[in-house]
Symmetry: C2
Subunit: 210 residues, 2 copies
């Protein structure tokens, strides 16, 4: 969710600086900011300290509005449903196991990705990518005709999986058209410039036309 | 989250009827209501179909307001942070593994709870219960002096674990005082009357003074 918060800050043209936190080190100073010990943590004007990505996004939308959370309770419920879907199911089925297999195992020197897990993740990923394609084809964006918080959250999750080289875009034409639109936004280019030491994203990762 | 939605409907004195869904059967008619195939699903006036517990709660608070979501963006962010904590961490560390070990295994005839998993859950549960105690002691309720959506969501999760007989309340005096207040609300008594075929909650489960 740190990526989604950054996208939102950039979309809203707010000034901010980033600090890297190796949250698994469980530094006392960090646990004081968020006792749960996970990123993102957001500090507004030096005194408002917020954690939980979804809470931060909604705070930003309330304090610095840009119409990313719908106009009616039903629209907001649909945006939140899609965010919940990806924050819960996509994260659990795809993002967490893949990040563990492909990133943590490497950094923690725990061996190679388990092919059985990678295969099962691929089948779940397929399902979620088709759902993205279905929604965006029907509606234009995920929750309706306009970009909302849902698009930014989902695109953040997708960008991580794409960084890991696990999305074969020619299988997902509709999702690809949607993701191209997100990628072409200036806010997104900042994310795509991120690097992880020792890991190289696939060639298409930063390309707007891929 | 179905329990939290029911609490909210009762707190708001809204008429509703319950339908049991064996979501693991993946009925087509149910997947049409929520393609993710999980409960809760909420139908308002026969045509508005909503899913995702957190989305439903916020919809209810927007359409039938009762001041359960704070008065300022900072208050709302804190309420959402606590909900996120329990929906993510408590659910993942405690509720899901315990429900699997103690309920699903029994219904699916997959043997007895794994003592190693039950032990590790117990240690995580300890940590979360102390956090509930810490917050409610400092503030009165979890997010501040007044009851909010956070209290109802957290109490719903706690009630499930308590049904399974896994909370030893004499270890958690502050959390117990908080939970007693929740339990004494008329809305809560409906939840506590729930039964699961073949399972009996501990004696204290329905008692207001336990």
């Amino acid at each position: 969710m740190s990526r989604a918060v950054r996208l939102f800050l950039l979309e809203k043209k707010l000034d901010f600086s980033l600090k890297t936190e190796r949250f698994f080190d469980k530094r006392d100073e960090f646990l004081e900011l968020n006792p749960l010990g996970v990123t993102p943590v957001f500090i507004d004007f030096g005194d408002v300290v917020l954690s939980d990505g979804i809470a931060i996004l909604q705070y930003l939308e309330e304090v610095y509005p840009s119409n990313f959370l719908g106009n009616t309770p039903i629209e907001r419920a649909e945006i939140r449903r899609i965010i919940g879907w990806f924050h819960d199911a996509f994260n659990y089925d795809v993002a967490q196991p893949l990040i563990f297999e492909k990133v943590y195992k490497r950094f923690l020197k725990q061996g190679y990705p388990d092919p059985d897990i990678v295969r099962s993740v691929k089948s779940d990923l397929h399902y979620h990518m088709h759902y993205i394609g279905f929604l965006s084809e029907q509606r234009g964006c995920l929750a309706g005709p306009q970009l909302t918080m849902a698009d930014f959250v989902v695109a953040s999750y997708v960008s991580i999986i794409d960084f890991l080289g696990s999305i074969f875009w020619d299988q997902f034409e509709s999702a690809k058209l949607w993701y191209m639109r997100l990628k072409s936004r200036p806010s997104f280019r900042h994310l795509l410039a991120d690097q992880l030491p020792g890991m190289t994203p696939p060639n298409h990762y930063q390309q707007l036309d891929f």
